[in-house]
């Protein structure tokens, strides 16, 4: 593997019955990413449980509690690499009550693999997973029609499922959908193509994961730089140095560019782009850099630097958003919460809760109470102005979390409308 391979994050959605863990096990096994000691551990467990063959799904079982109960209770991350790319898999459980886990894992993913059992076709949970992928704005969706061996590798069955799925997906905000017939159990179209699906001419799953284009998964046009930390060495050597450290969340910036500081609205020019490895002429998302400016302007953490001639973000004390409630305690409309958005945290309250989306039917229900796993449309008022974009334009500056000040728990994840 060279130093210039790219990193792709993907998640898998589907239930144990769809063969999700077997699919991940197959990807790891056939791409030679399973180590001998891991393999011998799961062989022993398979034998103990009286299984005839090694159960590859055991590879993704992590904790003692899960192994005892044979369930997956949380998001687990797996790593593997091929000569072409490095991969991070967010493994999410497919159980009904785990919407929050899928939303969590999907929030950082470039791609979601949605698993279907070829015998069962498009189910309620397929719709749910697809809706959540579109809600969280996962850039690429792969529909993996698994267990093709159980339907005699029938092209007609595959076409039927794909037609039904595409009709459903067309109602949602998905930009890039791929459908692959496969058998995780037999290893057809996962890493190797196998011999049973000759009628399918598209890429096998791993080939797709290796080659799909992800450069434009971040917003490349409008420069957004939330200030994270102000670098003031106050040493003799760097007496007057005042740099603004952060990660470029979108777009690019060059030395000499005219920039606006928000929310103050003051303008200046980029003097230097400082990194440990030397100053840069141009930097782009998602690089972490330190920017110095031509004029002395009072800037602190939570401010955002944008390019003056780019599409301006909104600077307002409120917004509408879609939100996934993550906490066991229901939302209390009478309480104040904290919202953390980019590098700014502020008090907030919910001025209205418009509707809840039934993730199975996509129907909207008015005036809901908001419980764990609910997806709701809300209006939020914030104590101080936030600098934001709609989530559709920029995942980084359009997303926020809600924190309960009493428990310090993260209770909701939101996407600005």
């Amino acid at each position: 593997m060279s130093n210039t391979t790219q990193l792709l994050r993907f998640i898998t959605a589907g239930s144990v019955d769809d063969g999700k863990s077997t699919l991940i096990g197959r990807l790891l096994h056939d791409s030679k990413s399973i180590f001998e000691d891991q393999f011998s551990a799961i062989s022993k467990t398979s034998e103990k449980r009286g299984m005839a063959a090694v159960d590859l799904s055991l590879l993704t079982d992590g904790l003692q509690a899960e192994r005892e109960q044979g369930i997956t209770i949380d998001v687990a991350y797996r790593y593997f690499a091929t000569p072409k790319r490095k991969f991070i898999i967010g493994d999410t459980p497919g159980h009904e009550q785990y919407t929050r886990n899928m939303v969590t894992a999907a929030s950082t993913a470039n791609l979601v693999v949605i698993l279907i059992d070829a015998r069962k076709g498009v189910l309620t949970q397929t719709r749910r997973h697809t809706y959540l992928a579109s809600l969280v704005g996962v850039p690429h969706v792969v529909l993996a029609v698994n267990k093709m061996d159980m339907v005699d590798y029938s092209q007609a069955r595959f076409d039927e499922i794909v037609a039904e799925y595409k009709a459903f997906a067309a109602q949602l905000n998905l930009h890039d959908v791929h459908c692959i017939p496969l058998s995780a159990l037999n290893g057809d179209m996962v890493v190797d193509r196998g011999e049973s699906l000759d009628w399918y001419k598209g890429p096998a799953l791993l080939e797709l994961l290796e080659r799909i284009e992800i450069d434009h998964d971040v917003n490349t046009s409008d420069f957004r730089f939330p200030v994270q930390w102000v670098c003031r060495p106050q040493s003799e050597e760097h007496h007057d140095f005042r740099g603004f450290a952060g990660r470029i969340e979108a777009g690019e910036v060059s030395v000499g560019d005219e920039v606006t500081i928000l929310p103050s609205g003051r303008t200046t020019k980029v003097k230097e782009i400082v990194t440990y490895d030397g100053n840069l002429q141009t930097a782009f998302a998602p690089q972490s850099v330190t920017i110095t400016l031509a004029d002395e302007i009072d800037i602190s953490r939570g401010d955002m630097i944008v390019k003056t001639d780019h599409l301006p973000p909104k600077v307002e004390k409120g917004f509408d958003a879609m939100m996934c409630w993550l906490s066991e305690s229901p939302l209390d409309k009478n309480r104040k919460y904290l919202v953390k958005h980019t590098t700014r945290t502020a008090k907030c309250l919910f001025s209205s809760i418009d509707y809840r989306v039934d993730v199975n039917t996509l129907e909207k229900h008015a005036n809901p109470t908001v419980n764990m796993n609910d997806i709701v449309r809300v209006a939020i008022k914030v104590q101080q102005p936030l600098v934001f974009d709609s989530y559709e334009i920029d995942r980084a500056t359009g997303s926020f979390i809600v924190i309960d000040e009493a428990t310090n728990n993260t209770v909701a994840a939101g996407m600005i409308a």
């Binding site: 593997m1 210039t4 003692q64 192994r67 790593y79 994270q228 060495p233 952060g246």
Partner: protein, 308 residues
């Protein structure tokens, strides 16, 4: 379908640059939001990578936190020497607290000197956290190391007993981290969660990092015990019937001399280690950590007790 062809655009970050930027972002969040953070630094390869990432995050300023090492006093001398040298070269503050202090206080009772001391590190770590009032400790643990770590958040919340509750973790979305704790509680932060052993070696190579000599192949007196190659030291002596051999070995991980086994190797440069890492069929901890081989859930249990 849009597919990547050979040439990546000018605005594509390599996987190492992507991981580096993510880690810098995490460290800066800790520095900006936590009142009194610390960086756990052992002199091992992962924590040496953490130091370089901290330099990238905060230079030209000093680190906005001290380095802290919990010393079992059973560490390899080469590692301790490297720890002191790197801290001095960087001009950063290093706080060392020893298990011996806890033993003197009576908070640790050692029954068998030949047994690994790593399990007791949590006691001294919690005492050190209390002594300095740290609200966040950054560590160099990685998710690819172990099953329990694969399920842990980057910002991992601990109660006042330092306990990790795997079933009650804060959801972690996007790169928006919840750093809030009540007085007395703290968080462990793992900026290199998403790095693998291979990434670490590629980064050591790219950044030309100085690491303890025992990571490179060297001749060492060892004995073979229970499938492991075990280094002979003042703490580990051959039992009757065991034969001392001199073998070319290197360490993939470093912990206590009593529980860290080297692998047989002749790789004497980073490039050769990368080649071996690419070809190896045994996991990093599986090959080298006797403390993880006691049960399938050893790491999970130690984490619940307040271990990293």
């Amino acid at each position: 379908m849009k597919l990547v062809e050979k040439n990546m655009s000018a605005h594509t970050l390599s996987h190492l640059d992507t991981l580096e930027s993510e880690s810098i972002h995490i460290m800066r969040e800790v520095a900006a939001e936590c009142k009194n953070p610390a960086l756990l630094f052992s002199g091992g390869k992962d924590s040496i990578v953490m130091l370089r990432l901290a330099e990238k995050a905060f230079r030209p300023a000093k680190f906005p936190f001290p380095l802290v090492h919990i010393d079992t006093e059973h560490n390899f001398p080469e590692v301790i020497a490297c720890r002191d040298k790197l801290a001095a070269d960087l001009g950063e503050r290093l706080i060392v607290r020893s298990l011996e202090d806890s033993i003197k206080r009576g908070s640790i009772v050692i029954k068998d000197e030949s047994k690994p001391r790593n399990p007791f590190q949590s006691v001294t770590l919690l005492e050190t956290i209390a002594e300095f009032g740290f609200d966040a400790c950054m560590g160099g643990a990685r998710r690819d190391e172990e099953k329990a770590r694969a399920k842990e958040r980057i910002f991992s919340f601990r109660d006042e007993f330092g306990q990790w509750d795997p079933k009650n973790q804060r959801p972690e979305l996007w790169d928006t981290y919840n750093t809030r704790v009540h007085a007395g509680e703290n968080i462990r932060v793992f900026p290199i969660s998403n790095w693998t052993e291979m990434d670490i070696w590629q980064y050591i190579g790219r950044e030309k990092l100085f690491i303890p000599s025992i990571y490179y192949a060297h001749e060492r007196e060892v004995i073979r015990r229970g499938g492991n190659v075990i280094p002979v030291s003042h703490l580990v002596q051959p039992k009757p019937g065991e034969k001392v051999e001199v073998v070319s070995v290197r360490f993939r991980t470093v912990g206590d001399m009593t529980c860290t086994a080297p692998v047989e190797s002749t790789a004497s440069t980073v490039e050769e280690i990368i080649e071996e890492t690419a070809a190896t069929r045994i996991t990093e901890r599986g090959a080298t950590r006797m403390d993880d081989q006691t049960s399938d859930a050893s790491m999970e249990l130690r984490k619940k007790e307040g271990y990293f």
